[in-house]
């Protein structure tokens, strides 16, 4: 692929930047509909309680109130991704603090909120399940007593009360393999609940027309999921539902499930008016989603020469009150738990459990950050014991192109070694790492300096998608797909791919996206899949358009299609005869008015890579046979630890990622820097906290998100391009991996600086000081 089209690899500014800079981009809460009502929600004050009665009389009596709904007013219909356990409003019991119990639609927002506050709910408190330990202990209270009766996907593998799913990936013979190991490290790692904190709180507007068709405009990551879930929740055929997406102010997985749309649709149905609901920041923290906290026990063994031999890992994810993505998060975490290393003997097991806390769901990394924090910290612990350089140790065991992943899939492209060496060399690793152990790094005023590394993998792929490309009458192009631009630049990247496939300027392409009535299906914008998967669909659709253009040109010139070439800039002509050519406009006019009909290309696919090899690996209860192609990265981070305050400061970071092909290098670098910083927050400061089931920091005052003064400017993205044969122009995904590698690299840098191994994140000043004090006592 030496001769790339002009549009590929170009640093084009994103096309929505001008509107966003001018304040002219319209997000859901910026939109109003004629006659629109405003909604407010009353949330549960208890983590677990039975609803004995709800008195809505005072709320209904307030002038301006048009509808008050409780769970009893809604049809008994549950939905979910794997377990159908969700309802729009609590049905009989509440399972977490904040769970929506009642909703109001009123003429204005102040009235809606005042009415919600007038609703009286009589609760009988029940014993809550507030931790993984409480969920799994003998005699545990079930969070969902009727779990058995819910519809669910088969083979989730749950065995105990409160288990949503239990899965395993295993190969080789772990128990026998320990005897072959010269060094074994065993540890338990704990990772916190991280909140997405997309800057735009969740919002939706729903309205019915008089023919009974529902239109929902909302912040989401998949109009197709919204449409399908509304169909189930409201008992409407999908043809009676249109889901669209205004501008979205960040999502990171937090808007990938269906959120408030069913509730707003019920209010619209009850009132016959358009209804808008926008959560407050506090409601969003308490009612939406979070990253699964987890406890990870890992044991890894190696030979004295640094060859990795065996790993035994068991993880439990806290899924919170509803299952949503938990079975898939668990399975994906396990699939990543061997790490990007050829470890022959692995037993990787785990479960996801219900608790009476906010539901956990997909969040940039999808189960992988939890696992990789533990395993990559442990790789450094092993390197220490073996007396090996952590980068060399990783390189010795790193997977390569043509190797196999656990489960047997062939790795079709792998830039891991290049990521490791380029990050190491850019960081000046050797000079900065005098050795491990306390006080090895020199810093002023009680500050200790160190560097750490991480290597990691992820996937891109997953399920189905499609795109259409139409040639307009003047030869410009209308591209349609349902990737949502969440801020990552999907619109521009896919338009660039389309421009590349047709070898025209991007200015000649208009995009329609994420409108279930106007653009074709896409499973979701998540899983680092849009550039790779939707990009492939765009190339297929564009290739079909190219074929039709060639046919028209051949018919016009009365030659064989094989004699026609597509020329850069939107022209088709006879090979070797420069003056014999037609513009795309000429051809499109012919197609529209003379012969053949308008030129439309469509392309669709379901991820079609190699399936798992069930003969070579024990794979229990994993819901997919294939999920994606593997992608790789490595981070090196330099930190300073203040031994007086306990604060960890990131001085510099080098984040190398193999993206196959950077369609737009500026956008790729933006994903790397932004993802790294979210991962740095996960490592050092971010944690949703509860006391007795009550969230204690559900606000941006109390939940810390890094600001510009907290961070270095030296976050160096390193773009590695090892082209993926199946990818569009060789491209792979980049959305999630930059977050995955940050926490372990930072923890390893802290260990290098201080000699202390912190196995719990976030590494807050308190935890660092406690660890320093404990070390001093020894």
């Amino acid at each position: 692929m030496n001769d790339l089209p002009e549009a590929i690899g170009k640093r084009l500014p994103r096309r929505d930047a001008a509107d966003k800079l001018a304040g002219a981009a319209r997000y859901t809460d910026d939109l109003a509909r004629p006659g629109m009502l405003h909604a407010a929600i009353l949330g549960s004050p208890w983590p677990s309680a039975r609803i004995l009665g709800i008195d809505t009389a005072a709320a209904r009596a307030l002038p301006g109130v048009k509808a008050v709904l409780t769970g009893a007013d809604l049809p008994e219909r549950r939905w979910g991704l794997f377990v159908y356990d969700e309802t729009a409003l609590a049905a009989g019991v509440v399972r977490y603090v904040g769970e929506p119990v009642a909703a109001v639609a009123a003429a204005d927002l102040a009235t809606a909120r005042a009415a919600a506050a007038l609703i009286e709910v009589d609760y009988e408190e029940l014993t809550p399940v507030l931790s993984i330990e409480e969920a799994l202990r003998d005699g545990a209270v079930p969070v969902h007593p009727h779990f058995d009766s819910y519809e669910k996907r088969p083979d989730l593998g749950f065995e105990r009360v409160n288990e949503i799913a239990r899965q395993e990936f295993s190969e080789g013979d772990v128990e026998a393999a320990w005897a072959d190991c010269d060094v074994v490290v065993d540890g338990v790692y704990e990772v916190p609940s991280q909140s997405h904190v997309y800057l735009e709180p969740v919002s939706a507007i729903a309205e019915f027309d008089r023919a009974g068709k529902l239109t929902v405009r909302s912040a989401n990551q998949s109009v197709n999921k919204v449409q399908a879930t509304l169909s189930r929740a409201l008992d409407l055929p999908m043809s009676k539902i249109r889901a669209t997406t205004p501008a979205v102010g960040g999502a990171f997985g937090g808007k990938s499930g269906v959120t408030v749309q069913p509730l707003v649709a019920h209010l619209a149905r009850a009132t016959g008016r358009p209804v808008r609901l926008t959560l407050t920041r506090e409601e969003d923290f308490m009612m939406m989603r979070r990253r699964h906290p987890a406890i990870v026990r890992v044991k890894t063994g190696a030979k004295a020469d640094g060859t990795l031999v065996a790993r035994d890992l068991e993880i439990v994810y806290d899924g919170g009150a509803y299952a949503e993505d938990s079975p898939a998060v668990l399975g994906f975490g396990l699939l990543m738990a061997r790490g990007p290393y050829a470890i022959p003997h692995c037993r990787l097991r785990g479960s996801a459990v219900y608790t009476n806390r906010l539901r956990a769901a997909g969040f940039r990394g999808y189960g992988n950050p939890q696992v990789t924090f533990a395993t990559e910290a442990q790789i450094d612990e092993l390197a220490d014991k073996l007396g090996l350089d952590p980068v060399d140790f990783r390189l010795k065991n790193a997977v390569t192109t043509g190797g196999r992943w656990i489960g047997g899939q062939t790795i079709t492209s792998c830039g891991l070694a290049e990521c490791l060496t380029r990050a190491r060399d850019a960081a000046g690793w050797t000079g900065k790492r005098p050795g491990s152990g306390a006080g090895t790094g020199a810093g002023a005023n009680g500050r200790l300096r160190g560097v750490g590394v991480s290597a990691f993998a992820h996937i891109c792929g997953l399920l189905g998608t499609s795109a259409t490309v139409r040639l307009l009458e003047d030869g410009t192009v209308a591209l349609a797909h349902s990737a949502v631009d969440l801020g990552q630049g999907a619109e521009a990247a896919l338009a660039q791919i389309c421009a590349g496939a047709l070898d025209i300027d991007i200015d000649r392409i208009d995009s329609t996206s994420a409108d279930s009535g106007a653009a074709p299906y896409n499973w979701s914008t998540g899983g680092s899949r849009v550039t790779y998967m939707v990009g492939r669909a765009v190339v297929k659709a564009a290739d079909s358009v190219r074929e039709q253009i060639v046919r028209h040109a051949a018919e016009t010139f009365e030659c064989a299609p094989g004699d026609i070439e597509i020329r850069p800039g939107g022209r088709a002509g006879i090979v070797g005869v420069p003056e014999k050519e037609l513009s795309f406009g000429d051809i499109s006019l012919r197609a529209h008015y003379q012969a053949g009909g308008p030129i439309i290309g469509s392309g669709g696919l379901v991820y079609d890579g190699e399936a798992f090899d069930y003969k070579e690996a024990l794979i229990r209860n994993y819901p997919f046979a294939r999920i994606g192609t593997y992608i790789f990265g490595a981070h090196v981070v330099e930190v300073e630890v203040d031994t007086v305050t306990g604060k960890v400061e990131i001085l510099r970071a080098w984040a190398a990622h193999d993206v196959g092909r950077a369609i737009n290098p500026t956008a790729v670098e933006g994903q790397i820097q932004g993802g790294f910083v979210q991962g740095a927050g996960y490592a050092l400061v971010e944690e949703l906290l509860w006391e007795d089931g009550q969230p204690i920091n559900p606000s941006m005052m109390d939940y810390k998100v890094y600001g510009a003064p907290d961070l270095p400017l030296e976050i160096h993205p390193i773009v590695v391009e090892d082209p993926e044969p199946s990818g569009p122009f060789g491209a792979k995904g980049i959305g999630e991996p930059p977050l995955v590698g940050a926490a372990p690299a930072i923890a390893n840098a802290v260990a290098n600086a201080t000699g202390l191994r912190l196995r719990t994140i976030p590494m807050t000043p308190e935890r660092v000081l406690d660890a320093l004090a404990a070390a001093a006592e020894e």
């Binding site: 500014p13 956008a667 600001g707």
Partner: protein, 167 residues
């Protein structure tokens, strides 16, 4: 609800009398009655900075100001910076460097940096920009591209004819 009252103020150069409920904030007024939705409500508690506007020429959080206290004041929102040469240069640099992702923080950052450029005597360096942006949360970019764009824009705007390259 309790009686609403008219508030007379200047918004983006236009004298307006806008009806505000008793607890209404300037942000409620702007996004509601004035239909200026460029100022964003990210946290409604003065932390995220997405609602940053200029009040009497200085950056302020619209979510923390009571509408009633804005009577007689001169308010400029991101929409009011349309045509402002400093904002135009800043926008060009931010778009070029990938400093705009989801865009929800962008209006607040544009207003805050425009305020910096207007008040600065010499072009702000990266340190000055980083600290100036302490009140504007961005969850997408990691700030590097924003700071780099601001430094370049500041070099073109501050202490020279706006819009022209410095030196």
């Amino acid at each position: 609800m309790t009686a609403a009252a008219g508030v007379g103020l200047t918004v983006n150069g236009d004298p307006l009398t806008l009806v505000a409920g008793p607890g209404a904030t300037l942000l409620d007024l702007l996004r509601g009655a004035a239909q200026l939705t460029g100022s964003k409500r990210g946290c409604n508690s003065g932390v995220c900075g997405a609602c940053t506007v200029l009040v009497d020429g200085r950056a302020a959080r619209a979510c923390l100001m009571l509408a009633a206290d804005c009577a007689g004041r001169d308010v400029v929102t991101v929409e009011g910076l349309d045509g402002d040469p400093n904002a135009a240069v800043l926008g060009e640099e931010m778009a070029k460097s990938g400093a705009v992702q989801c865009g929800y923080c962008t209006p607040g950052i544009v207003v805050a940096l425009t305020d910096l450029f207007r008040s600065a005597v010499e072009p702000p360096d990266a340190e000055a920009v980083r600290h100036w942006l302490g009140g504007n949360i961005c969850r997408c970019t990691g700030y590097v591209s924003i700071v780099e764009a601001a430094v370049r824009a500041g070099g073109r705007c501050v202490g020279s004819e706006p819009g022209l390259p410095a030196q």
